[in-house]
Symmetry: C2
Subunit: 246 residues, 2 copies
């Protein structure tokens, strides 16, 4: 059986959290939006996927259809050794995965604070305010939470082996580094374990091969993580110099 991933073909977006699991699991999958194009994708959405697809990604595995990034990632991971074995740890992993999903939603809303139905350019001013609040408070709260889990647990977020939650943590460090390079650079000294985890995931053979392949879409301004300089902080050095002058 080949997994069928339904997701927008031109962005990493939320689909990337699923792609990373499929790639690290080494399973066969069809990235339907990319192989079939929008027409095939949209036709499926309007018909057989309709009860599941309030939003993408959606995954089909035979007669099973699953929606929602964190749920799809968990589903694939538990079938292919990328999740802990015990119920207790599986639920912990699912909890952390949904915390990361909340972080992703907040990242999205830095560029769409008023409505997802209209473009960023129509909501620049509230986007600045929301991005400032995200950089000043939310980002460090979320990442600090992950750092503390690692401090308590060791090399991986849950259990004693890599799981889909670690792959998700890799992706958010990469994404935040793209979208908020200055803000993330300021936080980095407080997040040594999270950055080490990022490196550990990037070095996994199948992940390294995927990242070097054309299957890995580059970050761009249509995904969740977008580099709008107006939404990032000033570079740390300039900020520190300003602080000294006060």
């Amino acid at each position: 059986m080949t997994y069928e991933l339904f997701y927008w073909p031109e962005i990493q977006g939320r689909g990337e959290f699923v792609r990373l699991v499929l790639e690290d699991a080494g399973v066969e999958y069809a990235d339907v939006g990319r192989t079939g194009g929008y027409k095939v994708l949209l036709a499926a959405l309007e018909r057989e996927l309709a009860p599941y697809a309030f939003a993408l990604p959606v995954l089909r595995a035979g007669d099973i259809v699953v929606g929602h990034t964190a749920l799809i990632a968990r589903f694939v991971a538990e079938r292919h050794g990328l999740a802990p074995a015990s119920e207790r740890e599986r639920l912990h992993a699912a909890t952390v995965a949904l915390t990361i999903a909340d972080l992703i939603a907040e990242v999205h809303d830095t560029h769409h604070p008023i409505t997802v139905e209209r473009r960023y350019e129509t909501q620049r001013e509230p986007a600045r305010a929301r991005a400032r609040a995200f950089r000043d408070a939310r980002m460090s709260k979320f990442l600090g939470h992950l750092e503390r889990i690692l401090a308590a647990n060791g090399d991986w977020l849950v259990g004693n082996a890599a799981s889909y939650v670690d792959l998700a943590a890799f992706q958010i460090v990469e994404g935040l580094g793209y979208a908020f390079p200055h803000a993330l650079a300021e936080l980095a000294p407080e997040l040594p374990r999270l950055f080490a985890l990022r490196d550990r995931v990037a070095a996994r053979p199948r992940i390294a091969a995927y990242l070097a392949s054309p299957r890995r879409i580059a970050f761009n301004k249509d995904g969740i993580f977008r580099r709008y300089p107006a939404l990032d902080a000033a570079p740390p050095r300039a900020k520190r110099a300003r602080a000294r002058r006060r």
Copy 2:
């Protein structure tokens, strides 16, 4: 074993989606914030719940700890006959539950579009814009999605019996009716199945008993669903009259 629910004691909030499942399941549970107060709640959060509790609610069941509303609701429901039996339908239920979780997050952001770290009163203007977009597009999209699922499936959202997803649907209809009475009244004619589901859930004996008990906290302006007239639409009749005058 008694379930321990960790949630803020003075609001329905996200915790209510868990309380409804615990009540309908008829299981014993301690609502720790209400029985022990803030001091006990906060002490637990800082210590043994810390790796789970990026946000509340959190549920403890013996040595299992679960965070995140939709995940907790699913966990309790699958143990007590409030979820479908097959993997296929369990995943469908979990998908719909997470779609409802997204709706809840969007409802929250109508009064906190810039940051959850500061009060509504500091973000009234963007809140008006976000609430307008929510009323005009998002609310009908989410509720219409549920209506279509019911049209395809029958009396319940997933499978052929009540599940935690139906309880969640009840709660969002109640909550939206409190927070956006005019906007919801306008949509109601298009949502007959969803309103019938709301009534069906409200009539379930344990739910009816719960709603009539002091355990059901009233809606208020500290929860997710808040009645701020500035964020609701004009009453349908006034709107129609205005339209006629044009």
